[in-house]
Symmetry: C2
Subunit: 203 residues, 2 copies
């Protein structure tokens, strides 16, 4: 079974529709996904950017929100902008890393649904606790693990690796042969590449 | 017949596959295209950017060239990076505006083929002259018109209008109701929108 890495950032807008779409697209191609949360903040900071490019560049930001609305409408996904934007995603990313197996994608989709579907603040521990408990998990144990040294180190290492892979935005698919496909609009291409063809619309 | 504006910049890499694809996509939907060349330079300069974002941001630039290679391979289009990148596109844009009717798209595609298919310098008048003459046109008369006050003013006005429309990159489709679709990967969505549906893959 081919394995493709799905690199996502909880603060990233286009990671929301991507997280909702990618599992079905991978499954249809017989591909297993490795869900890898990381932080864009340190990658932006290394370039001297202190905020989201969508805030630093007003026209691009206005376009992104309109485009995201069209994308979500097309997928039947609700969209509500969280305040502030971007959300601090550190807690969500640590919790995601603290959750192993198939529950990590479930948790991740639920975080995106709360953040961009309902406009909730994912920087609030209460939001994350509610998501964990709706999944039937023990939030106390998971939050303790998420705050531990090994998980903090793991998130730091993942973020450093993302930078070394050439990642500068989110979401991304990275195939076993090292090809990076950036954006919700490259999911099909990245997955097709992983099974030996790139038969998308060339877009 | 619905009319959609195709805003393109001769120095823009993704405008190359878009220019090669867009006419067939529009025709299949019964849409007429209005080819509108403009300059990104003044739009970037207004934000204090003195170069292409693909040069200012090394990781993004490396990704773009790799992604463009995959896109062009998928479409069967040759790709050769022109030096320097980006090319000064002022002459090509003025000449395109000086050419009316169906010949403007033909000229524009031929410029892209020379620039990104063969790696030629489109800042060189000899390149533009050769393209004009291969189309069977009188290059002397067209270059004279391209250098005239009305054409210079028209390009300035088009570029200003692009900025007012919220355009910050290229290529773009702009529909009659003012929706902007940015990127080679939004051509289908923009054209579908213009005929009353957005049934793309939601990407």
């Amino acid at each position: 079974v081919p394995v493709v890495d799905f690199w996502y950032e909880f603060a990233s807008t286009y990671s929301y529709p991507a997280a909702m779409r990618v599992e079905a697209l991978a499954g249809a191609r017989g591909i297993a996904l490795n869900w890898r949360p990381f932080l864009l903040g340190p990658i932006f900071a290394a370039r001297g950017m202190a905020d989201s490019p969508f805030n630093l560049h007003a026209a691009k930001g206005r376009y992104m929100w309109r485009d995201l609305r069209r994308v979500c409408d097309g997928l039947g996904l609700p969209l509500r902008r969280p305040e502030p934007f971007p959300q601090n995603s550190l807690l969500a990313a640590r919790v995601a890393l603290a959750i192993e197996g198939d529950v990590r994608p479930e948790f991740s989709r639920a975080v995106y649904a709360a953040e961009f579907g309902e406009g909730q603040s994912i920087a609030e521990p209460s939001t994350i606790v509610a998501v964990i408990e709706r999944l039937g998990l023990n939030s106390g144990a998971i939050l303790e693990r998420a705050a531990s040294g090994p998980i903090k180190d793991a998130l730091r290492r993942e973020t450093e690796l993302a930078g070394r892979l050439g990642i500068f935005g989110a979401p991304n698919l990275v195939t076993a042969d090292g090809e990076v496909f950036w954006g919700n609009d490259r999911l099909e291409d990245g997955l097709d590449w992983a099974i030996g063809g790139l038969t998308g619309r060339g877009a």
